[in-house]
Amino acid sequence: MEPATTDSHADAHEEHHEESFWRKYVFSQDHKMIGIQYGLTALVFMLLGFCLMLLMRWQLAYPGKPIPAIGGLFGADNAPGGIMLPEFYNQLGAMHGTIMVFMAVVPLLVGAFGNYVVPLQIGAPDMAFPKLNMASYWCFLPGGLLMASSFFLPGGAARSGWTSYPPLSVLEDGQTVWLFGMILLITSSLLGAVNFLVTIIQMRAPGLTWMRLPFFVWAQLVTSFLLLLAFPPLEAAGVLQLFDRLVDTSFFMPDGLVISGEMEDFRSGGGSPLLWQHLFWFLAHPEVYVLVLPAMGMVGEIIANNTRKPIWGYKSLVYSVVFLGFMSFIVWAHHMFMTGMGTVISAFFQTTTMIISIPSVIILTCLLLSLWGGSIRFNTPMLFALAFLPMFAIGGLTGLPLGLTASDIPLHDTYYVIGHFHYVVAPGTIFAIFAGIYYWYPKVTGRKMSELLGKLHFWPSLLFINGIFFPMLIQGMAGLSRRLYDGGLTYEFAKDVMVWNKMMTWSAFGLAVVQIFFIVNFFMSLKTGEKVGGNPWRATTLEWTDAPSPPIGHGNFPKIPTVFRPAYEYSAPGSDEDFTAQSQPQEA
């Protein structure tokens, strides 16, 4: 595509032969192409997770009413006459959670942004193991497709919640496919984690010392560590659950089970349902920090860039992220407070849960203080990044009452929990992802996305998303349980908070509508977006200053840069420009 000089024409021609379409776009080993593959695939999965949610929200607001317009499409097994059946609702819930966490957000944060940006930010020509990188995508894609296809397989999709607690999950349909899908997704993440760690530890450009790393790279480093050590136990647990399902072992099945009046006497019994919960949450708690650390990293990048000043307290940020990563391995049982936990273990986990909130407070404080003294540009990426702060604060703060056993009694398994974590993952992480897409779009395509459409996307999204999730906190406080097919209609005790459901659902539809601005913007800007130079945001980090936008093919940098400065030298005293590239030599 790039006009080649006559001199290199022969070269280019040869390359062209070597890099067939398949090698270049499908089985690519270039981290940038793999990043794009991850990004597009995960966005499609996110759209799917989003659509499943819309169906659920319809049912919650109008229980028993036929789904309008498209209700007939789901077949008599799922929605006869367009009216959703409980088994279908449970499938939607389990798959919405699974898809959003494992097939949309993690692949976006790590697979897409991590892959594309990290090697560029550290001045590396590619990831350390390009083939492994390709393999990791090619585990992710079949894993994801398998999961998504489970709706169409006999038996349907998994329906025991994304948490898949046995004995239920061992008994219900759809779970086998879920387990195989998870094993593929986990393998993909493990391969990716090894790759990221080696790349970041080994391949930083000369002069790029640890304390000069962009904060985003630190976040990815810690994230990879979490994936590396937390995922294997879930893989093991998945294998055990497969055994329980397929060959009737009893790892999670206790003695004396009587299912619908029938004794399970073909099993030996003797297993422990709680064992699954330990192994699951040993992954899933670190996983929730996987969902937020890279998001914090992106927000940090964008805030530094758009305040035109260094991030405040870079070192505390780095130490906090590392500490957060470490602590996230020892808080998992706070999801199990209501399983009959004794005083000693619960005291331990309450304490660690309170401790882990401290680094989050420090990170948020640093990001907030970074705003002070800035010269703040309110472009679209910055708006999303700024919104992340108070939204994450609501999500994080609502984690505190859940983290104490006593106050968790009324709140556990209510919509308060749903509200808590959606505030961190949706207007938190998803907003950070949007910020990242708007910010790095010019890097990938050489064009900016439209600011007007961006703002039309941002403001209503912010409004609607709060319209969905804030009422959840109110409903949960009144005791409304989660995972209810009829939204709680059966019960009297939470009657008066049910009125919110319609408003929440219409907010969700509103949210869907305004995503159209994003989708249009995303595709249209490929053609019509304003063409920009290498460094449209006037940023300091290597991906902008030392590589063209879009970057040259495989290899990234015309010449591997050398780094002389910290990551965020904005408005440095004595400099004429309001930014100084990391690779700009210090004057003698």
């Binding site: 080994q202 294997p232 009893s250």
Partner: protein, 209 residues
């Protein structure tokens, strides 16, 4: 076009490691957690059970004893094959690596025999949590042996051509494959006593079903 990845062959002066070596150690760390979860399962199931069988009452200790020696031997020949390469003795390398692969095959053969007798006696994973965890642990370990055998077989056969062109890189590959192989051995060193030798407790009810 190919990109030159730094520290693919020579160690990074800062860390003292080449990429693949760090990579395989990280991978092994994740493997530790994988088997750790299964050991955790073993311990919890055993603690919670009113009775637990003595391994040797159910499993064949002499056969597993031989298998342990086979695997240990393969570990030694693996490290010897690496040492031979470092001494530039390609013939010896071929010999030792060949023995390593044969040992792996022998291990798998013996294991298959063990499984076969178990199944023909009607001892299936569903019969007890002991047999369940036995089959999961040894089965997963067996998959690791098979994986190692494939890699080592490749490095013994077609892969060894690299020694002519890039001897250092090839020696690295052997070192990395060796790290993995020793880990597989190391896991077995725990599996053997834990599954086959540890004394049980209480009276195990019934003859299986």
């Amino acid at each position: 076009m190919s990109v030159v990845i730094p520290y693919n062959v020579d160690p990074n002066p800062e860390t003292g490691l080449y990429n693949a070596k760090l990579g395989v150690w990280l991978f092994l760390a994740s493997e530790v957690m994988l088997f750790g979860a299964l050991f955790s399962t073993y311990i919890l199931l055993r603690t919670a059970a009113p009775a637990w069988p003595t391994g040797s009452d159910i499993l064949n200790v002499p056969v597993a004893f031989v298998n342990t020696l086979v695997l240990i031997a393969s570990s030694v020949t693996m490290v010897m094959s690496w040492a031979s390469l470092k001494l530039n003795d390609f013939a010896k390398y071929k010999l030792y690596m060949g023995i390593t692969c044969l040992c792996a095959l022998a291990f798998l053969g013996i294991k298959a025999y063990e499984y076969g007798t178990k199944f023909s006696h009607g001892d299936f994973p569903a019969n007890s949590t002991f047999l369940g965890i036995y089959f999961v642990l040894t089965g997963l370990h067996m998959l690791h042996v098979i994986g190692g055998l494939i890699v080592n077989g490749y490095l013994w056969g077609p892969g060894s051509k690299m020694f002519q062109t890039e001897p250092d890189r090839f020696a690295n590959r052997i070192e990395v494959a060796g790290l993995y192989w020793h880990f597989v051995d190391l896991v077995w060193i725990f599996l053997f006593p834990v599954l086959y030798l540890l004394p049980g407790a209480g009276v195990v009810a019934g003859g299986g079903h």
